[in-house]
């Protein structure tokens, strides 16, 4: 579904990604782990098309399309979703209107009919209930005055409603208590299926207990230094990155 080959990217003159090779087949969930500053978030932003990163080499193909030439909104319309590590506050923008506008933009690009406010609210309330989130989440302005956990839940809510084919979760678990963590995992698990894949960026084994990945990759210094099965995450949790990085070097 997603194929990354030799991807290099920099911010300003500083190279961050130094040659990433990664393939995530349809139906699989892959985890990316790695120390701070290894380029994990950069990878997420580059996939989503953030303009302040310059892609200096390599390719990213999403279901056969060259994704690097697509605008961020076109990537979303194609089915990509990035759950932000630090979700952005939008003062003056109502959350329900925001998500409905996004959903309708995506539906439009697929040639589907738009949802009116009533249809959308019905759908959104059902998702809220399923994710055990309060209704007032829709009435507030996007992420304004939200706690850290609420912001992360709001990302999961957006994901649940936009129904992406490929989700990148950038440390969506960090700073969450165990209940919130389960909500995040449930949100992803609900989408799981042969036509859905995800890349889960995380620091902790904890999320992976609820969201068992097909593969785990270790990112360090802008490269993937090791890949393995779910047991790799457990090994990291036990021994830390130090031993593995020394071994890789």
């Amino acid at each position: 579904m997603l194929d990354i080959h030799g991807l290099t990217a920099s911010i300003g003159d500083k190279p961050i990604l130094k040659g990433i090779d990664l393939s995530v087949p349809a139906g699989e969930i892959h985890a990316i782990m790695g120390p701070n500053g290894s380029g994990k978030s950069t990878l997420g932003y580059v996939l989503a098309g953030r303009e302040d990163y310059t892609v200096t080499g390599g390719t990213v193909t999403f279901e056969g399309h060259d994704m690097l030439t697509m605008e961020p909104e076109a990537r979303a319309a194609a089915g990509l979703f990035l759950a932000f590590q630090a979700p952005i506050e939008l003062p003056g923008v109502n959350n329900a209107n925001f998500i409905r506008t996004a959903l309708n933009a995506i539906r439009r690009s697929r040639g589907e009919s738009e949802l009116d406010a009533v249809q959308f609210l019905k759908l959104a309330r059902a998702e809220l209930k399923r994710l055990a989130m309060p209704d007032d989440m829709l009435k507030r302005n996007v992420n304004v005055g939200f706690s850290g956990g609420e912001k992360k839940r709001n990302e999961v809510l957006q994901m649940a409603l936009l129904r992406p084919r490929f989700a990148v979760l950038d440390e969506t678990d960090s700073g969450l208590d165990i209940d919130a963590l389960k909500i995040v995992a449930d949100g992803v698990n609900a989408l799981r299926g042969p036509e859905f894949s995800a890349l889960v960026i995380t620091h902790h084994q904890r999320l992976l207990d609820h969201l068992v990945p097909n593969r785990v990759h270790v990112l360090a210094g802008g490269r993937i230094v090791r890949s393995g099965g779910p047991e790799l995450a457990k090994e990291l949790e036990k021994n830390g990155y130090g031993a593995m990085l020394a071994e890789a070097a």
């Binding site: 098309g49 979703f81 952005i88 939008l90 506008t101 959903l103």
Partner: protein, 412 residues
């Protein structure tokens, strides 16, 4: 009446000479105002240096124009409100108004008040010289008059100088919504004097939606007594050259003044929001947030001055001017001034000028919202937040309608 051929300052003086015997009220005051206007002239239109108070705004285009005072009004459409006072070209229109308790016409009971500066401020001098009519509205002690609409319509080729006086007795309450519009090239030059007695609350919401060829120069003088509140919000959306000049005097302990506003401009529109807040008594609070959304080659101005008199301890003053520039040719000028003669005072001011936030834009686009739509959402959000100080539902609804119409005009 002879047709007036002179333009600018001379034109207005000629009109005064032609009308002076028929104008209501204190003729000595009018003569003094005429002398002052002759000396001061239209800012920027006469030779000599422009006063500092008019640093960013010139009325030079008015200098070449002549206006009549004739009411040739077209049919006027006014929003439906139970209590409304309607003026066209500076004159009361009984046919369009409803009876409002405590209302009288300036034409019948001229009241020039005591707060205004006809000797120093050229537009106040011009108004004092030519005012024929206006709204005199008194709310007795303890009475809540509710919502009153004050409408003014301008007509091509005319100038109007309405003189309004609003007096709230102790503990009285009023939400006064002023709306001005019109068609063609005209001048609307109202002067409003406001007295808010002890514990009274005046909510004053103004939408200036004049014709884009028109001139709107409004001057407001408000005095707030102990524990009283003057809560004002001005939306500047129309006009070619406009100025909103508010003088707020916090005259008793614990008086509150809110002078908020939003200016939405496009093309070559120029809007100047100038305020002078004078804290003359202890524990007064003043709050001002002005938001500007500037498109095309438009220019927004905010001049805010806070004066804290000796003895006005415990003063809390705040002003903020925020601007969103949607075009590289738009311009915002900000001039904050603090003049403080007391030592226990909290005063701050700030200004932000920017384009849309890149992170917010990316967030919206990453959710599939196209760039153009995402930008529109962020501008609307900035505007919506600007209206937040207005809590009266009726006033808020009318403001939102005006903002929506403006934004539709930009998208077209």
């Amino acid at each position: 009446m002879n047709a007036i051929s002179e333009t600018g300052t001379a034109g207005f003086l000629a009109r005064y000479e032609a009308m002076r015997g028929r104008l209501p009220g204190d003729s000595t005051l009018r003569a003094a105002a005429a002398d002052a206007f002759r000396t001061l002239g239209l800012p920027g239109a006469s030779r000599g240096r422009r006063a500092e108070a008019w640093k960013y705004t010139t009325l030079q285009p008015l200098g070449g124009m002549s206006f009549s005072g004739a009411d040739t009004s077209r049919p006027v459409v006014v929003p439906d409100a139970a209590a409304r006072i309607v003026f066209a070209v500076g004159r009361y229109r009984a046919d369009l108004s409803t009876p409002v308790p405590g209302f009288a016409r300036f034409a019948g009971q001229p009241d020039f008040g005591e707060l205004t500066w006809p000797d120093r401020d050229p537009m106040t001098a011009l108004n004092t010289m030519l005012a024929e009519d206006g709204a005199i509205l008194s709310v007795p002690k303890g009475v809540d008059l509710g919502f009153v609409l004050l409408v003014h319509t301008g007509v091509d080729g005319t100038s109007a100088h309405p003189r309004h006086m609003i007096r709230l007795g102790e503990g009285a309450r009023l939400t006064l919504m002023e709306m001005s519009d019109g068609e063609g090239v005209y001048l609307h030059n109202p002067v409003t004097e406001i007295h808010v007695a002890d514990g009274a609350v005046l909510t004053h919401v103004r939408t200036q939606a004049e014709s884009v060829s028109a001139f709107h120069l409004a001057t407001i003088y408000a005095a707030v007594a102990a524990g009283g509140t003057y809560d004002s919000f001005t939306l500047n959306i129309g006009g070619r050259i406009t100025r909103t000049e508010i003088h707020a005097l916090l005259d008793g302990p614990g008086a509150i003044a809110h002078l908020n506003g939003a200016q939405l401009l496009t093309g070559s529109q120029h809007a100047d929001f100038t305020s002078v807040v004078r804290h003359a008594a202890p524990k007064g609070t003043s709050r001002q947030t002005i938001r500007n959304v500037l498109n095309g080659q438009s220019r927004g101005v905010f001049q805010g001055r806070i004066e804290v008199a000796r003895g006005a301890q415990g003063t809390d003053g705040y002003q903020m001017n925020r601007a969103l520039l949607l075009s590289p040719d738009a311009e915002i000028d900000t001039k904050p001034e603090l003049e403080i003669f007391a030592d226990d005072v909290k005063c701050s001011h700030g200004a932000t000028v920017g384009e849309l936030d890149a992170e917010q834009l990316f967030y919206l686009r990453s959710r599939g919202i196209p760039d153009r739509e995402a930008r529109s959402i962020l501008v609307r959000a900035f505007l919506a937040e600007g209206l937040d100080p207005v809590t009266n539902d009726t006033a808020r609804g009318l403001l939102e309608d005006a903002v929506a119409r403006w934004w539709e005009g930009q998208a077209a």
